[in-house]
Amino acid sequence: MSKTTITPADEKARVAAARAKVTIFDIFWQFLIIGATSFGGVVPYLREGLVTKNHWVDDKEFVELLSISQSLPGLNATNMAILLGDRLKGWMGAVAGIVGICLPGGVLMLCVGMFYRIHGDHPYVTYMLKGVAAAAAGLLLATVIQLGKKSLSHQFDLVFVLVTVLAVNRLHLGVPKTLLIVGLVAIFFHYPRKSEKESVKQ
């Protein structure tokens, strides 16, 4: 990844030096910039801003935090803001991070919502929105496929995926019950084995 030739030890020293100088406002400002520019997905922008540009975390820690945020409920973007902010400057850093990353998109969506409320039934807005919604559906499906490829470790996991979809969309069991029932069965299916033949693909 890195173009320059820096040893891991150098990188560690650089991160420690950069981290010592970080203020709450720096965190807020950096996350605000990411919140305002991260079109099409936050994670690459987070990496660019925090690892490459500011050296507040190294790549290894970034990937570790990403895996924590993916296994918790909540959005990747906001979980990462909390985890990174907390590592940098405690809970106040976490608050600065999440407020910064949410602010630009939140203000924008507030305005978009108001505009839509007034002009949403204008024919040209409707045509546009039909196209946008269809594109978003395609985008989502691609995200699901990519996530599935990356995070499913066992062929039988596909059965859990299928059962979850049927429970929610056909049996209308509701998300919480499905999560609880299928989740528990799936966790016990992956009970801790002594030998780790099926290790997770990262």
């Binding site: 079109f39 979980n79 985890l83 919502g113 045509y127 919604a133 395609g138 989502l140």
Partner: protein, 184 residues
């Protein structure tokens, strides 16, 4: 004004369902905002979600509009509407933020716990399933014919084959939509 406590309850609840991504909570969000509380229609919700894909930042920021809309509809006040939007953000991100903070700090201890990996692997399949379920219920509203189906398929293939910025693909969808549906 009386919508605010309901918004807090609904979005704090939706918050904990977002396992794997915001879309995991979509079927429940649709049920609560459309069927139970009549804040908006299904297609309005899908429109707001989809336009939200063009905005930078976390991809569920459209919840702000739901809060704004719900309170505005009940009170007629723009200021209270904005307050509704703010309340929704805090309710939706608060619970998971707190959890992330706690788990993030305990991670070093959790890392050695043998069941951690089981939970991660088990939840991975369920969260992919929940995201797929959310995607399908959203697609039911979004994909209504050949044109919308074609746009969705095009975006899907472009995403899987090439590394194109998703926001650009959504923008392309908007342009194709206007050209395709515009009265000739």
């Amino acid at each position: 004004m009386n919508q605010i406590p309901i918004l807090v309850r609904v979005f704090a609840y939706l918050s904990i369902l977002t396992v794997g991504g915001g879309m995991a909570a979509f079927p429940e969000m649709e049920h609560l905002t459309v069927t139970v509380h009549n804040w908006m229609t299904s297609s309005q919700l899908v429109h707001m979600y989809s336009v939200g894909q063009l905005a930078p930042g976390p991809n569920m920021m459209m919840i702000v509009s739901i809060g704004d809309w719900a309170v505005w509809k009940a009170s007629g006040s723009m200021t209270l509407g904005i307050l509704g939007g703010l309340v929704v953000i805090v309710a939706f991100f608060g619970p998971t933020a707190l959890l992330a903070l706690v788990v993030g700090r305990a991670w070093n201890k959790l890392e050695k716990w043998p069941w951690r990996k089981s939970i991660q692997q088990g939840l991975a399949s369920v969260s992919v399933g929940l995201l797929l379920a959310g995607t399908l219920s959203m697609a039911k509203t979004a994909v209504t014919g050949w044109t919308t189906g074609g746009i969705a398929l095009f975006v899907l293939l472009m995403m899987l084959w090439r590394k194109i910025n998703p926001a650009l693909l959504v923008l392309t969808g908007a342009i194709v939509g206007v050209i395709a549906f515009m009265p000739k």
